[in-house]
């Protein structure tokens, strides 16, 4: 009985893998075709890197992503720690606020920005970061909330306070390292969202990497597919980095600040 089940499991696994992998292989193969369609080369990839704006928009998007991730952490870690430490009566309210971005159409955000944001912010591309923070709230809230629920937060915070640490030191030295994987998850979500966000950037007329992709791919289908493959590999690398980071960086960090 058990053996049979295993076989079924493998079949399902293989089927699912094929379902995901074949389109990727097909896309990769397609993106590598030469103009004459009989040989393979990297022309389409080279074409991508030669296009105007590749570096600048990618740079912009990365700066936005980093800014967003930092802002999310500064905003959300103390907030959720507070909710867990005795601000429980605010929990439902904050939870609600963090879910709102899921149901409000992005276009209303864009309109809101144009009426409510101060002009000095509207005149820079970094206004997008503020909006990315908002639209990443539903995901980052969950990630951090789950992380904090899984540790004896109150005891650790009180132990740290009794040892003489300020709240800021407690967050930096005790809380964040303890929920490092949740923090990494939140960073990853914020970064991925910022790197991939398209609608807000278009509506507010900013050039980011996603809008650049949309522009250049209109005239060159093979180039567009090469870009998708690149983007996919890029995001996998990112996942890999986030997954490995806690172990290697974590231990280095503790060594470095060792007693």
């Amino acid at each position: 009985m058990k053996k049979k089940l295993n076989v079924v499991n493998y079949i399902v696994l293989l089927g699912a893998t094929a379902f995901f992998v074949f389109p990727l292989i097909a896309a990769t193969e397609f993106s590598l075709r030469a103009k004459n369609a009989t040989t393979h080369n990297f022309d389409n990839y080279i074409w991508v890197f030669k296009q105007d704006g590749f570096k600048t928009t990618l740079g912009t998007s990365f700066r936005l992503a980093i800014l967003t991730a930092v802002a999310v952490l500064i905003l959300m870690v103390p907030t959720i720690v507070y909710l867990h430490l005795g601000g429980a009566r605010w929990k439902r309210f904050i939870e609600f606020v963090c879910l709102v971005p899921l149901v409000v159409p992005v276009i209303s955000f864009a309109l809101g920005v144009q009426t409510a944001f101060p002009t000095f912010l509207q005149s820079t591309v970094y206004e997008l970061s503020f909006l990315y923070v908002v639209i990443s709230l539903p995901y980052t809230y969950r990630a951090l909330d789950v992380g904090l629920s899984s540790i004896p937060l109150l005891t650790l915070v009180e132990a740290s306070r009794a040892s003489g640490a300020s709240m800021r030191q407690t967050l930096m030295f005790v809380v964040v390292p303890t929920i490092r994987s949740a923090v990494n998850g939140a960073i990853f979500l914020a970064v991925a969202l910022s790197l991939g966000e398209f609608t807000l950037a278009v509506l507010l007329h900013w050039d980011t990497f996603p809008t650049w992709i949309a522009n250049i791919s209109q005239g060159h289908i093979l180039g567009a597919i090469s870009l998708s493959v690149l983007a996919l590999v890029g995001s996998w690398l990112l996942v890999l980095i986030v997954a490995i980071a806690p172990k290697s960086f974590g231990s280095n960090k503790t060594q470095e600040v060792a007693a």
Partner: protein, 355 residues
């Protein structure tokens, strides 16, 4: 390694309310420099609240907290310089044992090498000198609490606060660590407040024991005094085992039990002459003599419980069928087999009355 800062602590008129529940009422306690005071009481009696108020972890209370003559009630927890050990394991999971111990020095920006030396010194003191590189989860419960103790002492605290540090440990480790805490406390000389619900623990470790009940400190005295001269019936009943014997009240300071006159100690209940009440007498203040089953003090042996050096005998009184417990050396207890008729004798001179 005696610390320079031996401080006195005065808690004056503390009152703390959670919603409708009064956790602490008119709580007054003084700790002499270097003294170890244990607060003893059932759960919910306010002992932990008192400790947390001293630590600054519970705020919004009435009353004064005076350390070396200075009221620190308005100073936040992280500026009070208190070393605290918690009931729950509280080591920082991402730091090594050494980093945990050095943490208080690190947030005080003590030089790296200095804090490493100090932390190592404290690990030696708690007997874990070779465990500095381990993580918390690689230690046993007892070892974790030792590290927590070292961490609390590393900052050379004004006061050491121990909040039931042994209750998560198994019996053998608990006794061992209890004795060790006492040794370390004596060695370091830090004024210490120890909270526990375990009588034996409190009696064994403390210079003075404070018995608490319903948010009120009933009595604070050396362990022997708490046990032998409890100030009132509540303390007497809470600490150690007590027998209740029917007594006839002869005057304001005299009563009669089993035809024997005893001195009545001042009690919180006024004793009306001529009435009866229950005298409180400890099992070891009673003895047995083989008897004939007649007379006011005669009883029948119901059972014997062998407790090593002592044996506890329970007898049923012929007069009112009540059960009494008597403790005696096991060798003496051999003659009192189950079913034998005995006379109960009282060796107390003064007793408390539960009116």
């Amino acid at each position: 390694m005696t610390t320079e800062n031996r401080v006195s602590v005065q808690l004056k008129g503390l009152r703390k309310v959670y919603g409708d529940a009064v956790a602490l009422e008119n709580f007054n306690l003084e700790l002499a420099p270097g003294e170890l005071v244990a607060l003893l009481g059932p759960s919910g009696c306010g002992k932990t609240t008192a400790l947390r108020i001293l630590a600054g972890l519970d705020t919004d209370h009435e009353g004064q907290i005076i350390i070396n003559g200075k009221d620190i009630a308005s100073i936040p927890a992280n500026k009070r310089n208190m070393g605290m050990v918690f009931q729950a394991y509280s080591l920082f999971p991402t730091m090594t044992v050494l980093e945990n111990v050095a943490y208080g020095l690190r947030v005080r920006r003590v030089d790296k090498e200095k804090r490493r030396v100090k932390a190592q010194e404290l690990l030696e003191l708690v007997g874990l000198g070779n465990m500095g590189n381990r993580l918390a989860h690689q230690l046993s419960g007892g070892q974790q609490q030792r590290v927590a103790l070292a961490r609390a002492l590393a900052i050379q605290p004004n006061v050491l606060l121990l909040d039931e540090p042994l209750s998560a440990l198994d019996a053998q480790v608990r006794t061992q660590l209890r004795d060790e805490i006492k040794r370390i406390q004596t060695e370091v000389g830090t004024t210490t407040l120890f909270v526990t619900h375990d009588q034996e623990e409190a009696m064994a470790i403390a210079d003075r024991v404070g018995v608490m009940r319903h948010g009120v400190l009933e009595q604070c005295a050396p362990p022997q005094e708490i046990y032998l001269n409890p100030i009132n019936v509540k303390v007497a009943k809470f600490v150690g085992a007590m027998n209740l014997l029917p007594a006839e009240i002869l005057s304001a300071n005299e009563l009669r039990v089993f035809g024997q006159k005893l001195e009545l100690r001042a009690s919180d209940a006024a004793a009306p002459t001529g009435k009866t009440g229950m005298a409180l007498i400890r099992p070891e203040q009673l003895s047995l003599k083989l008897g004939d089953g007649k007379g006011p003090a005669s009883a029948t042996v119901v059972s014997r419980t062998f407790l090593g050096p002592l044996t506890r005998i329970s007898v049923r009184m012929v007069a009112d069928s009540s059960t009494l417990f008597i403790s005696m050396p096991s060798a003496q207890a051999l003659q009192f087999v189950e079913g034998s008729s005995v006379d109960v004798q009282i060796h107390a001179t003064s007793v408390l009355l539960d009116a």
